[in-house]
Symmetry: C2
Subunit: 325 residues, 2 copies
Amino acid sequence: MVNFAQRILGPTLGLAPCSSSRSHSLGRTRLRNFPCAVSSTSSSSPMDRQNRRQGFMEFPHLSAPHRDLMIELVSTMETRLGSQLLPDPLPLDVQCYQNAAGTSQGALHIRPGDDTSSIEFILGSWIYCELPSGGALNITTLMAYLNKSTDAPNFVLEFVQMSPTSMVLILDLPPRKDLPLYPDYLDTFYVDTKLDGCRQALQKLPEVQPYFSPVLYVRCVWSPTATVVHIQCEQGQESDQARMEEIVRDHVSPIAKQVLGIWLDKCACGEGREVKESERSELERRDRVIRTKTIEIDLVSNLPRLFGPDVGSRIVNAIQEFLNK
Amino acid sequence: MVNFAQRILGPTLGLAPCSSSRSHSLGRTRLRNFPCAVSSTSSSSPMDRQNRRQGFMEFPHLSAPHRDLMIELVSTMETRLGSQLLPDPLPLDVQCYQNAAGTSQGALHIRPGDDTSSIEFILGSWIYCELPSGGALNITTLMAYLNKSTDAPNFVLEFVQMSPTSMVLILDLPPRKDLPLYPDYLDTFYVDTKLDGCRQALQKLPEVQPYFSPVLYVRCVWSPTATVVHIQCEQGQESDQARMEEIVRDHVSPIAKQVLGIWLDKCACGEGREVKESERSELERRDRVIRTKTIEIDLVSNLPRLFGPDVGSRIVNAIQEFLNK
């Protein structure tokens, strides 16, 4: 779940890790200031909690436009839903973590909804892993799950970067119903909202191509308007990185804000989607199957591989424990 | 249903009809021999029925490799399932039809399964419409639907041509279950069969791009391995048409035969997919909703537009009557 995006890594991705010289320049500099690097994992003072949240919100390995976008999206979500959100319940050493060598870092931020809310939880995460082959893997995620009081779609945004000039973007409101059976649901959340216009706008750029995850299950959970694309600015020129930043600022950023706005208005804060008591168990079952399966695909094998077995298991177990509460 | 493919026609298709000089040369010549043009619609002698089936199997407006492919696929399907298939129950003036001016023609061939079969029906169709703007629309379809004795996927193949150098291809085994809820079903029919390899192979060609139907409902009914592509050979050269024929012969044809083979082996003639009595009504409901909705999208508005209200309504009504039996 935390690294939802890792499911899209695989032999058909065709993204070679960038050479370390092309990694984003912030990477190494920031390692020294990373909260996990300066405080013990058992500390839990209010100041330390605050530091760790700031650590998450720093997004130290992203380009400026990308970081600005993530900060704005998380802030928008937390501001709009703020009164319904509870504090992050995760242990501090799950909120920030790194491997023994300090070459991989991660931050995880979860806010459950309170009893009056339709929010199950929101989840923000980033992972930065220097790879043995050189280069680095950089995954940034923002997701929001609704609970069984509504059947409205969830929200997912994920960036998977293998270099400063190549990334996969997933931006979607994954449906919580079997769409072929519910044309009205499709009309309400996907047709009437003109969500497909966001995907179409981005795909007009020559650097943008549709992306097909090698994991078929993952393709099944996305909506028909999902923006699932591979952005490549690889002309072999010095300006490639600047072009990628321009695309994030001028093209990705507006549609990400638009999709989040639609989700906040129509799904998280929308009305009239109350689910009948008799249908809640089926909705809950579907949500649970998808969550279990995606965690299995995303985390169980990948996190231990990227962070070592001890750290990886700690994160996986903490998330599973949170979800099974 | 008959022109399942028309759902993909729309403002975002971006396929301009070809000029009439670029239409396939067989078109006008064959009009004189079209069965509907030489016999009255009320005739129903065995000879006439035979002529009409031959009319369907002639595919008079397709290029040679395209026609060869369609004949081989229909023959393979009918040979393999032959003993389970009943005769075509449609009125003769629905099996072959044309508009008053003779500028639009269509043929429709349906074979229901018998009581012992898992086949609900197979359906073959072609439509050829000269457009007022010049050029012609050419749609060729082969579909097979299973009944509620099994939950295995259906089969669909459709070509939509707006010119001899540009076509949309849909090749899929549309699932009959809500895939995110049934990972085992996904594994059985889509992962283990390596169906995605067919899509991947075709998309390696520079002339082939993923195609997004402007009708969102249609996107929802396809599987995650659906080959839904736009093939364009439009370099402005005389060899463009030959290149399209080469692609159909050397690339489309092998994967279409492979997908049909998988469907025949694993779905139509596969074993072990018996559906429990308690689950049959839900399966039947899902099948019915999808069928009703796709007919509405495909036929109700399009056929009268292409063939005039009288002929269009005749075909739509006959199909609806057959489906509601």
